[in-house]
Amino acid sequence: MTTPLAEVASSPSTLRAFLHGLPGVDRVGADARAAMLGTRSIKTTAKKQAIDMAIRMVDLTTLEGADTPGKVRAMCAKAVRPDPGDSSVPPVAAVCVYPDLVATAVEALAGSGVKVASVATSFPSGRSSLEVKVAETSLAVAAGAAEIDMVIDRGAFLAGDYLKVYEEIVATKEACGRAGGAQGGRRAGGAQGGQGAHLKVILETGELATYDNVRRASWLAMIAGADFIKTSTGKVSPAATLPVTLVMLEAVRDFLAATGRKVGVKPAGGIRTTKDAIKYLVLVNETAGPDWLDPDWFRLGASSLLNDLLMQRQKMATGRYAGPDYFTLD
């Protein structure tokens, strides 16, 4: 690195030079390593711990056009107490909703410790002007969102206009802090005081074509101030995959070594089974390290995963396979 990290974004050419100077990703190697780590066998007490950890890391998500306040309230109740019949099940990390439903979720989760995350910046496509994106972010934070999941402008990224992507992330980050600072004292359980909302940057890796681009986008987001980097919107296939998450975990590990700032990772979309979730936990432990095995630094964006985790948990407690009839639908 010839340019200090703080200055790489000073011009389009330095940013481009920096991102293209990142070492390339060995695609076959990344796939093979992720597949190898996916074969680890996690059983009995370790599995019990992993299931509870995964539950605490879930960002329980509903991002449908048909979302109603009632559905969001029901999901919030489930987030706080995932299994009504078993009080030993921990609550999830956060719920993730569209901006207009943030207020509903904040009200339903008041005092519970479960955070409210909101997607913003013209989710899922990100095709809108910067003013609209910033305004949307500000409104979501003002409504009480503690975390903002923004999407990057993939079109600009793929066209090589890295500075535009960078500036959008910076502007959104600023909107998170500004709105949070102004509104912080107003709502308990909302944006965390003067620090503003946490910013998760969605790279939408399914549209980035190569692992090299995933690595570049990860670094770009982290340099611009992301608190979390997130794989996908869940609206594009493929969504989160193990190798892509591996590349992102390597990026946050290297970023910590280079700058001393720790960034979280959130795979989202397509994680439906306990087995999948445990594979991700193994990947985190083996790539970024056990420091990341914490809901503050690793999240799983999912909706149906929670039911499967609960079913596996019940199977381990009762010794009989559980059925979906006995869990709430979401």
């Binding site: 010794g319 009989r320 396979y321 559980a322 059925g323 979906p324 009839d325 006995y326």
Partner: protein, 290 residues
């Protein structure tokens, strides 16, 4: 000149039948199937509880489509299974005689009876509703209608014997719209897997019938305790296993078909009891006028 070498025969790998596919057991286990004289016939997959779990998921997934299909369509598919079975008559006869205990003539009669049994049940698909359903006279201004509905996912412990018993327990379960997970006879599992090949080529949607080979004593209790299984047919279970399974089945109030007290003559007219065991009655009250 090169010597003429004898051709090596290509042996079939007998695997499980889950969700319309033929996977090996998740456990990687297999067991040796022998004839009644103790001669080696083949290796069959020994299913584990996880295979049973996968089979239940597949059966659950197939249930909405199969139970929602028209009775007419289900009947057609059962008839198609009979057609396919008829076409493989020689193969079944060979497999049944290989296990031993029956001659070729008797084995042929068993295959014929199995084909006839399928045709017989196929005919019932659109008639069982007329026999079991009713328009009920009620003291009020309502149309009151009852109709039989499938129970859901049914676990089946198949009876001893190669084919006829197996067909006689699967057909009544699926003809009414249930889906099933079958634990095949441990001693003679090969015709069960060959039957799976017949099912896979009969337009039967994947997952409607799932066939596991291995030890019933090992697998059946997991199916009996599974909260996503709605009924269990214990026809092939011995007395001890039947008690264990029935106790486990109580947790989610599964419908249980107990093993028969007397030895069953599978060639006899079966009656409709095997169908009614896994049907429940839905009654609708519909107001008349305004």
């Amino acid at each position: 000149m090169s010597e003429r070498t004898e051709r090596l025969s290509v042996r079939k790998t007998y695997k499980l039948f889950i969700g319309g596919a033929f996977p090996r057991s998740e456990s990687g286990r297999s067991y040796v199937v022998t004839s009644s004289k103790g001669d080696f016939i083949a290796n069959a997959a020994r299913a584990s509880r996880k295979d049973a779990r996968d089979a239940v998921s597949a059966a659950r997934k197939a249930f909405p489509g199969w139970s929602g299909a028209t009775a007419y369509n289900r009947g057609q598919i059962l008839y198609r299974i009979a057609e396919m079975l008829e076409g493989r008559r020689a193969q079944f006869v060979a497999e049944i005689t290989a296990v031993g205990g029956v001659g070729a003539k008797q084995a042929g009669e068993m295959v014929d009876a199995a084909v006839d049994r399928l045709v017989w049940y196929a005919g019932w698909s659109d008639k069982i509703g007329a026999v079991l359903g009713s328009a009920n006279p009620v003291a009020g201004p309502y149309f009151n209608l009852s109709s039989p509905e499938p129970t859901g996912v049914v676990a089946v412990v198949a009876p001893q014997g190669p084919l006829l018993g197996l067909v006689s327990v699967i057909a009544p379960v699926i003809v009414t719209g249930n889906t099933c997970v079958v634990v095949a006879c441990e001693r003679a599992p090969l015709p069960a897997i060959t039957l799976a090949e017949v099912l896979a080529t009969s337009d039967l949607p994947g997952g409607v019938v799932n066939i596991l080979t291995g030890s019933a004593a090992e697998i059946a209790p997991w199916l009996a305790g599974h909260m996503d299984v709605n009924g269990i047919d214990l026809t092939g279970a011995d007395a001890e296993l039947a008690v264990t399974c029935e106790e486990l089945a109580a947790e989610n109030l599964k419908r249980v078909l107990r093993p028969p007290v007397d030895r069953v003559d599978w060639l006899a007219d079966p009656g409709i009891e095997r169908m009614t065991a896994f049907l429940e009655t839905k009654t609708v009250w519909h107001p008349i006028g305004v």
